[in-house]
């Protein structure tokens, strides 16, 4: 081969190689610190789901030994798992954080939002979120979104500019070069920031394991009364299930994602430890959203449409 420049690659990298988790952690911490340095009123969207838990953990590390200089915001659909709400409140108390809650239920009770016929409330989060951002004048909003989750998210920036209506216009995104994040915005606009952009589901789980981060119990296998709908196991509850044609049964399940009870499906599992969960995910042939999220299956461009309207 005279034409190929031959190179013998060392099987082992130099002592300066970082593991992939260290690289991702370092990048996420850099993003948190950029926002702290450049914005007036940042807020972390915190649901008590694993991605937002990892986000908070990284924020705590980024500013230690000082406290996290951000408040938290939870958009509560009213259909959240009680275990997750308990976890949320414990974490907030433990770290002396300030939590704002924007409640979908309150919007429905006030007649400002209408319940959808299918009972799912995830798409209803957009208005309370947008109004909370306007009301508190948040200028940077951290979300746990990852680019590996979904095709439209693959095109999302780490710093994503939103207008006063929180709209996302994929054709008007700023190019993101090197590690230079441009967060400049006009009054009334804000920036959504995604520190976990480059993480995969597996990275998140490996990091949780490495850092020994406590999670809500529903991420591990447990017995639960569930019923089948659209090929998923849903939790029986007051939110609108089961219907008459649906039968409840007790199964050993765990959740891969934690959203709303009405659209988050569980998977059959006997994984009661982190090691077992990770082994299951590694062997899984389904993406986490594909397996467990009804809200993304609505149409080929479901996520893109919701993002344009201001969803994370």
């Amino acid at each position: 081969m005279t034409t190929t420049v031959a190179h013998v690659h060392e099987e082992t990298d130099s002592p300066f190689a970082l593991s992939h988790l260290d690289s991702l952690e370092s990048e996420a911490v850099h993003i948190f610190r950029e926002v702290a340095g450049e914005f007036e009123r940042p807020v972390i969207l915190f649901s008590g789901g694993k991605d937002s838990i990892v986000m908070l953990h990284l924020a705590l590390k980024a500013f230690a030994p000082a406290p996290v200089p951000f408040t938290l915001l939870h958009v509560d659909t009213g259909h959240n798992f009680p275990e997750v709400l308990d976890y949320r409140d414990r974490v907030v108390a433990q770290h002396g954080l300030r939590l704002h809650v924007a409640s979908v239920q309150e919007y429905i009770d006030a007649g400002k939002l209408r319940e959808r016929p299918d009972g799912t409330r995830n798409p209803l989060q957009t208005v309370p979120l947008t109004e909370a951002i306007q009301q508190h004048r948040f200028d940077a909003v951290f979300g746990g979104g990852r680019r590996d989750e979904e095709k439209a998210r693959a095109k999302e920036r780490v710093f994503s500019l939103r207008d006063e209506f929180s709209q996302w216009d994929p054709r008007r995104q700023r190019p993101e070069l090197w590690q230079l994040y441009n967060g400049r915005h006009a009054p009334g606009e804000h920036v959504r920031v995604f520190p976990l952009s480059n993480w995969t589901e597996l990275d998140v789980w490996q990091y949780i394991q490495r850092e020994k981060i406590e999670l809500p119990e529903i991420y591990f296998a447990h017995e639960r009364e569930v019923f089948a709908r659209s090929g998923m196991w849903l939790t029986a509850g007051e939110w609108g299930g089961p219907k008459e044609s649906e039968t409840v049964e007790t199964r050993l399940i765990r959740y891969r994602t934690v959203g709303d009870m009405s659209c988050t499906g569980a998977v059959d599992s006997d994984a009661t430890t982190l090691d077992a969960v990770i082994a299951e995910i590694a062997a899984s042939r389904l993406t986490e959203r594909g397996a467990t999220r009804a809200d993304d299956k609505m149409s080929e461009a479901a996520m893109e449409d919701r993002k344009r309207e201001g969803y994370f």
């Binding site: 130099s14 190689a17 593991s19 370092s26 070069l177 590690q179 995969t200």
Partner: protein
């Protein structure tokens, strides 16, 4: 169960490679990317089902792997890629982040974006067409952005009967061109993305090729080197001062090491003030360490209580960069509105943003043949040009060739925050070809 977990122990210790692809739809880039994801078992059942369903709906018989990577409605409808998309996959040996960039001429800015964080770039050519104008453009972008490793993937070898001479001629032409531009490492690989030859699996159709497949090369290319030889640079992002009962006197400078390594005990200089101090501690996200290196995010503590804030740069006292208010650089213009001589802008360099004015635009560069057009007056979207900028405050700017992170900057429109241009300080290219160009245009102030 144990075997998977054991495999995990391995995966948990893998490194991360960021790479970019360049090439047009016609070169089979989406197919190559789809093939990498598919054959490395990174495409999961539901994604594949979605692609199959969407392909059927469009009346295509076979699943179109390009649909894996075209995420937006407009792209799927028009069958084009309009933006950088990021893909993630892993093998037991390494984790990959792929910046998948469109290859059309009007999307130069996207390739520049993808290449800016890449340690490796894959340039695709069609074996039937060989090195074309667009190939030279991709090589030039990779050279300009100083991507350390370039792979030339000669695709569609199945359409030229897997003939070695065809591959050898293309590889030779490309290698010569890219070397002249100063690309430090080039690896040419003959592939068929459609048939799967040499992408993940070695090809039985090309016994004459003894090198690695694309994936093997991606898995083994070095992602780190000896950082002690680099100029160490630490832009301060944020000052951590808890002022709590527990930590009444803690004062740490938080940031991500941009280049090289820092050690406890080292004397440092703060730029632009020029004050000096000694490193007394390095906190690496929860543990105290004696040494830390790029790209670790750390907090550095110093012996003296000196005035340091966001935007300052720490460097070893014996190896501090000069500060200047005059920046000469190559820029890629990335906005739809033009950049003109006399324009007032903001310049963002590391953690520092300063006011600046565009003093001169000595020339615009055509990437196809590296020809220059003196005094264009302005740059428009996707133009590459030389600029001279005067800043309101001194900057500790390195040459981009020495440090991609401290030699790069953005020009921003102060009116609405639009990113206008991506800048690289100092000379454009490292190679002999560029030097030859410079000789003919010395009086125009080129320092190619």
């Amino acid at each position: 169960m144990t075997s998977t977990t054991e495999q995990f122990a391995d995966v948990a210790a893998t490194t991360l490679l960021r790479f970019a692809t360049a090439g047009s739809v016609d070169d089979g880039k989406s197919t190559l990317v789809g093939r990498l994801l598919h054959d490395s078992k990174s495409v999961l059942t539901d994604q594949l089902e979605a692609v199959e369903a969407a392909s059927l709906k469009r009346g295509q018989e076979a699943p179109d792997l390009a649909l894996l990577t075209d995420g937006l409605r407009a792209e799927r409808e028009q069958g084009i890629t309009i933006d950088v998309a990021y893909r993630y996959f892993a093998t037991p040996r390494r984790r990959f982040i792929l910046a998948d960039t469109p290859g059309h001429v009007q999307y130069t800015r996207n390739m520049v974006t993808g290449a800016s964080t890449a340690e490796l770039a894959v340039v695709l050519v069609d074996a039937r067409n060989g090195v074309v104008e667009q190939t030279r453009r991709h090589a030039a972008v990779a050279a300009l952005l100083r991507v350390p490793h370039v792979v030339l993937a000669v695709n569609k070898m199945d359409l030229v009967d897997y003939a070695e001479p065809v591959f050898a001629a293309i590889a030779e032409e490309f290698t010569q061109y890219a070397s002249e531009l100063g690309v430090p490492e080039i690896t040419a690989i003959p592939i068929s993305a459609l048939a799967g030859d040499n992408v993940v699996e070695p090809s039985s159709n090309m016994d004459w090729y003894g090198g690695p497949t694309v994936l093997e090369h991606l898995e083994t290319v070095p992602v780190s080197h000896d950082l002690t030889a680099c100029h160490a640079r630490f832009p301060v992002q944020y000052v951590i001062r808890p002022q709590t009962a527990e930590h009444p006197d803690y004062r740490g400078y938080a940031g991500q090491i941009a280049a090289g390594a820092f050690r406890v005990g080292e004397q440092i200089t703060v730029l632009p003030s020029g004050r000096t101090s000694t490193i007394t501690g390095i906190d690496a996200l929860g543990e105290s360490v004696d040494i830390a290196w790029a790209p670790q995010s750390v907090t550095i503590r110093l012996a003296d209580d000196i005035d340091i804030s966001r935007g300052d740069l720490l460097a070893p006292s014996g190896d501090a960069p000069a500060t200047s208010q005059d920046v000469e650089a190559t820029v890629c213009h990335v906005a739809d509105r033009p950049l003109a001589v006399g324009q007032r802008v903001l310049l963002k360099h590391t953690t520092r943003t300063v006011k600046a004015i565009v003093k001169e635009i000595p020339s615009r560069l055509t990437l196809d043949d590296l020809s220059q057009h003196p005094e264009p007056g302005q740059l428009v979207a996707n133009d590459i040009g030389r600029v001279k900028v005067r800043t309101a405050e001194p900057l500790a700017l390195d040459a981009y060739k020495d440090s991609r992170r401290t030699g790069s900057f953005l020009l921003i429109d102060p009116a609405d925050g639009t990113t206008l241009a991506a800048g690289m300080a100092g000379e454009s290219f490292a190679g002999a070809k560029a030097a030859a160009v410079a000789e003919t245009t010395e009086d125009e102030g080129w320092d190619f």
